[in-house]
Symmetry: C2
């Protein structure tokens, strides 16, 4: 944190007459040419790395020194006109503002893009179709290398017509259309890992509070739950699977029904439901994990690690989704067959789970 804070009111010291901070005079090609004692044409050849151009190494070096000394910035736009595509990768996101998840997709995509010399051109559409259309058009006009089309929750999507004018990869979403490259979280593995946390601690009677809303996450996480039970030799009991709206209120509201199931552990569709369930269990005088072990999903920022007790969960790999999307776009990573590439969801163990009572004896 910054310790050189001012007291309120001193936020920006008064200065009158008010003036702008000194703005540096932009260095031109001509400035460099004069400093190096060569023609602007020669500077241009060096800047645009025309290898075939016959320029003495000593001259080339003098120009480079002048560029460094003066801090000359070549015009990237001009370079683009020569090369045909810019050093931009576009990222269309539908929920940067409304969810902390998109931020990690941006973070991963940008880190990977910079690694390969590309800058990320981000458009935040908040699901507005018109804005999305404008954003894609703008990216095409700026000749992006390609576009990552991402959604804040894992779902199927259409492919906007204009998106086809660019090389593109779907991130956290997929299209029914054959061959549309996509990268998504491995929901089945994630659901399996969440259930396995509880199995490892000896729990056999594990309830699952799934979401009421149709989504690949709903189907995938349930399938993973069933696979984990099957591998542990535990028969699937439909009576242990419930559904609720995937937020705190949904988890809280499911408390009563859950307690009728006499389970020793519960896996919630997401951390927000687990947060609500925590409140519900407390109101019933029950403690976590002594009376009931709880596992969530998402490893949601500002929630999972800060519940009492901290919540064991499975993280959605948003950072990796963004990074893999860029590698796929640049052809550094290919998807296996026509399936969307699936990214592993890592397990995050905290204190909301302990050895099952019956397992201890």
């Amino acid at each position: 944190m910054n310790s050189r804070e001012n007291k309120p009111g001193e936020a920006a010291p008064a200065a009158s007459p008010r003036h702008r901070p000194e703005r540096a005079h932009p260095v031109t090609l001509r400035d460099v040419a004069e400093a190096a004692g060569v023609s602007t044409a020669t500077v241009s050849l060096v800047v645009n790395k025309k290898k075939d151009a016959r320029i003495a190494e000593e001259t080339r070096q003098r120009v480079k020194d002048a560029i460094r000394a003066l801090g000359y910035r070549p015009n990237a736009m001009a370079k683009t006109l020569v090369s045909g595509t810019s050093r931009f990768i576009g990222l269309v996101a539908d929920g940067v503002a409304t969810t902390p998840f998109a931020g990690q997709i941006i973070h991963g995509a940008q880190d990977e893009a910079w690694k390969h010399g590309y800058a990320l051109l981000i458009a935040n559409t908040e699901g507005n179709r018109e804005l999305e259309q404008d954003a894609i058009s703008m990216m095409l006009e700026y000749k992006v290398r390609g576009i990552l089309y991402s959604t804040w929750f894992h779902r199927e999507t259409d492919i906007p017509a204009s998106l086809r004018e660019a090389d593109f990869v779907l991130v956290n979403c997929f299209a029914a259309e054959p061959g549309a490259r996509a990268v998504v979280p491995d929901e089945v593995q994630g659901g399996k890992s969440a259930t396995e946390i509880l199995l490892r601690h000896g729990h056999r009677r594990i309830a699952f509070i799934n979401a009421t809303i149709p989504a690949p996450a709903k189907d995938g996480r349930l399938l993973g739950y069933r696979q984990a039970l099957e591998e542990a030799g535990i028969a699937f009991d439909p009576g242990l699977v419930m559904e609720a709206y995937p937020d705190q209120e949904g988890g809280y509201g499911a408390t009563g029904e859950l307690l009728k199931r006499s389970a020793t552990a519960v896996y919630c569709y997401n951390d927000r439901m687990a947060m609500g369930l925590y409140d519900g269990l407390r109101e019933h005088g029950l403690s976590i994990p002594e009376d009931l072990a709880v596992v969530g999903f998402d490893n949601q920022e500002v929630i999972a690690a800060h519940l009492r007790p901290p919540l064991s969960t499975v993280a959605l790999p948003h950072y990796e989704l963004g990074a893999a999307g860029v590698r796929m776009l640049l052809g550094l990573e290919e998807t296996a067959g026509a399936e969307a590439a699936k990214i592993h969801c890592p397990t995050v163990e905290r204190n909301s789970v302990r050895v099952a009572a019956r397992a201890k004896t």
Copy 2:
């Protein structure tokens, strides 16, 4: 939500041999020229809106029709070379991935930028100085109209040397330097509003759990708390002001001390502290708002509205900060004098506050 979800496994139907979706052939200037029956030079003059160029209106119209019919996309880079600056506004953010707050700054800045025909070029530095340097250099090479330099929490900042090469506005941060344009939240008004929620409900003995970490928010919110009490004719009691680390654990840990103060209401520095305090109060068998009224600050996504009871709080105006930053950059909004422009923090009332017991009789 999308209801056309596939069952797992069908995520992306198998197609062999695998192929890319058909990619449209990009329309060239020549295509337009042929369609309109004019020279490419004529098309170029129309595209670049050369008013002085002597072109018959009928011809100009024919070119425009061809552009629409073919869906030709002029090269924005080329236009930039003519105009000198691009239609980009750069946004450097230090915490898109690590906080939901930055998302709203991006949302507000982008909505305002699009309104004026600009696209946002976003760089997410996560506080990495080197990445920040590269990001600003990249923006300068792309000739951005200007740069918004933003931080995820309100603080003082230095002005990177390269930032001075562009027209810039500081967003959610400020510099001691005279005249550096900046837009920040009005922490004093926010702290005053938070306290006034409790005063309106008849509370007189109001505790304030401030943050341990130095920040304009810490000083400003305390000042606002004092101003509100003063206007209500209540003497400031230093014994009612405590400090804790600004997260759930800090709020939870402050519970015991708070209960010794025999206050009827408490205002927490942020919503995360209030969330922890909720747990602490429950463990003492106390209920909110019956035994203690609670108010937070931030209106933090996925927390404030979902606590039991939902938390009354004051929202940080991140969307407005981004929008105001763009207006300031484009000269549509001037700051009053040398002070950083302060944005109003709106009150959000929920059920964590009720009329004070002593006020009811």
